[in-house]
């Protein structure tokens, strides 16, 4: 049986392929062209409409330390649409410091519906250090019909090797929630002294993932700090996905794909914290094949939601 999670995200991908607006910001499961055909290899098909383009890393809400020019959802969605983004996975900055995450996630859901129907896919914030955090997880899945959660260990004060992290992954897998883990949001050198959040050390992650087979996990803002090619390759081999918002270096994307292959790297902008164009121009800075571009812009993000075959 196809899970709602899978259907939801394949549906939004297919809807964007057809250029159609979604009802309820990706919360209404429906059968997709890919499912109907039984094939979805992420390669371009014969669909008409705008070329699919998924931004896997945006946020709504207010950044606590700075006004962001595109901080209003309407301004952000206008920017995304201007550049042809057909779907954006949106977390909430409220998830960093708020303790009433059920309310924050509800506001996120509503904001996505009001400002980004057909474009914004809400990603619920979970803080496993809070009492009754499993209730938040359950609400994300059952009440809000989210398909994905975002973790902020640096801001919530836990590390990958702590049992809490493993437990969160297990719980997420149990209810078929895909997990995005934020490695950093801001350069540690420029953080407010009252809002210092360390980068997440993902070195122990490969060992941990063996304990949660089948988990769908993406690291956000990882590529500025996680540079060990062997670690990246190992994580990719275990199905971990990445995105390019914090990837640096001249022709950095070209270099990354040469070492990592194409299947695990998605587009992500970290807008509105970063200028959206910074990520977009990386697709031009590197020499990429049409196939690579298709995987980056859309295919890998969609394939990310297909559960591994037993």
């Amino acid at each position: 049986m196809t899970s709602p999670t899978r259907r939801t995200f394949l549906q939004t991908g297919a809807a964007s392929l057809a250029g159609a607006a979604l009802v309820g910001a990706g919360t209404s499961p429906s059968t997709t062209a890919a499912e109907t055909s039984g094939k979805d290899d992420g390669k371009p098909g014969g669909e008409k409409g705008p070329a699919p383009f998924i931004d896997t890393n945006v946020h709504l809400g207010h950044w606590p330390a700075r006004h962001l020019p595109l901080g209003k959802p309407a301004d952000l969605t206008a920017k995304l649409r201007e550049h042809g983004v057909t779907q954006a996975w949106a977390g909430t900055f409220e998830g960093l410091l708020h303790k009433d995450l059920a309310a924050a996630n509800y506001r996120l859901k509503k904001a996505c519906e009001v400002h980004g129907a057909g474009l914004l896919v809400p990603v619920g914030a979970i803080n496993p250090t809070l009492p009754a955090w499993k209730e938040d997880l359950k609400r994300c899945r059952e009440d809000f019909d989210f398909s994905m959660i975002r973790l902020y260990p640096g801001y919530h004060g836990y590390a990958v090797e702590q049992p809490l992290f493993l437990e969160t992954l297990k719980q997420a897998r149990e209810v078929e929630l895909t997990v995005q883990v934020v490695v950093r949001l801001e350069d540690v050198r420029t953080q407010s002294p009252l809002l210092r959040a360390p980068d997440l050390d993902v070195t122990p992650l490969p060992g941990l993932l063996k304990k949660v087979p089948g988990i769908r996990l993406q690291l956000l803002n990882a590529l500025r700090t996680v540079k060990n090619p062997l670690l990246l390759q190992r994580l990719a081999a275990m199905g971990v996905h990445f995105e390019i918002a914090m990837l640096e270096g001249a022709a950095g994307l070209e270099n990354l794909l040469n070492g990592l292959g194409i299947k695990n790297v998605c587009f992500g902008s970290h807008a509105p914290f970063f200028y959206f164009e910074s990520a977009l121009l990386k697709l031009k800075e590197s020499l990429l094949t049409e196939e690579q571009l298709t995987f980056l812009r859309d295919g890998n993000a969609r394939n990310f939601f297909i559960p591994p075959q037993p």
Binding site: P69, V188, M246, L247, A250, G252, F274, Y275, K284
Partner: protein, 261 residues
């Protein structure tokens, strides 16, 4: 739109070959429409370089820019801890050579009196100085300058043309620190493409004092270019930041060498 890059390092792209390294840098930058590249420092970086290290690094730059005279401008790398060696290098590479600017990194904070003879010679030669600055939440290196240090130097040398490299990294503090130093431009390269950077710079300093650079090859040309093309500033401001300001800043040195500007 014409784009000139204030801030590039090249020497590690193709190890052992400065010319091939610069060729690769230019090839990648050209993909995004970048036409000219200011380059400085070689392959063997040291926080407190010896005179020999300085010469070696500057030689790499000389070799590389010699192969691309129409596309690359060299800045001489100096260490103010060794004033005599620095003045020798300044004379060798700028007064008697093809370089058109000065690069100072983290050997000594730039408010130190050792900077004075170097700045005075730069004023005589009518070349500008690019000073690396940062304001790190976890603390700077011992010799690493802050934008406030540069403002102090600028006050002592009102005729000097100075660039606040990285705008201190923390742009909201860096812009404030140099706001009242009219002979200081800010270089916006080499920090995350945090939204609002360019808007604040133009609002507080005016577009005339903002110069774009990438800090490639460590940074991505793209990530840094996004700071300008993604900013909510008008096209005239973008043109100044991406090209005109740097052209004007370099003009006296280029003119002195008979370069077409």
């Amino acid at each position: 739109m014409t784009i000139w890059d204030l801030h590039c390092h090249f020497a590690r792209l193709v190890p052992g070959s400065p010319v091939k390294s610069l060729e690769r840098l230019i090839e990648i930058g050209n993909r995004l429409g970048i036409e000219k590249f200011c380059v400085y420092m070689g392959s063997n970086w040291e926080y407190d370089p010896s005179p020999e290290n300085l010469r070696n690094q500057n030689d790499e730059v000389l070799e590389a820019i010699g192969a691309f005279p129409g596309q690359a401008f060299g800045f001489v790398y100096l260490n103010p801890k060794d004033v005599e060696a620095s003045l020798d290098e300044l004379n060798r590479c700028v007064a008697d050579g093809p370089m058109v600017g000065i690069k100072l990194w983290v050997a000594q904070r730039c408010n130190h009196r050792n900077l004075d003879p170097i700045v005075e010679r730069a004023v005589e030669l009518d070349v500008g100085i690019f000073q690396h600055t940062w304001l790190k939440a976890g603390g700077n290196l011992p010799g690493e300058s802050t934008p406030a240090d540069l403002a102090e130097l600028a006050d002592r040398h009102p005729d000097a043309r100075l660039i606040c490299g990285h705008t201190g990294g923390d742009f909201e503090l860096g812009i404030r620190a140099v706001k009242h130093s009219p002979n200081v431009h800010i270089g916006i390269a080499g920090s995350d493409p945090t939204a609002g950077f360019t808007e604040m710079a133009v609002r507080e300093l005016g577009a005339d004092r903002v110069i774009w650079g990438s800090d490639a090859s460590g940074r991505s040309f793209a990530s840094q270019l996004g700071k300008v093309v993604g900013a909510q500033v008008d096209e005239a401001a973008q043109e100044k930041i991406l090209h005109t300001n740097l052209r004007q800043w370099l003009a006296p040195a280029l003119k002195a060498k008979g370069r077409d500007i």
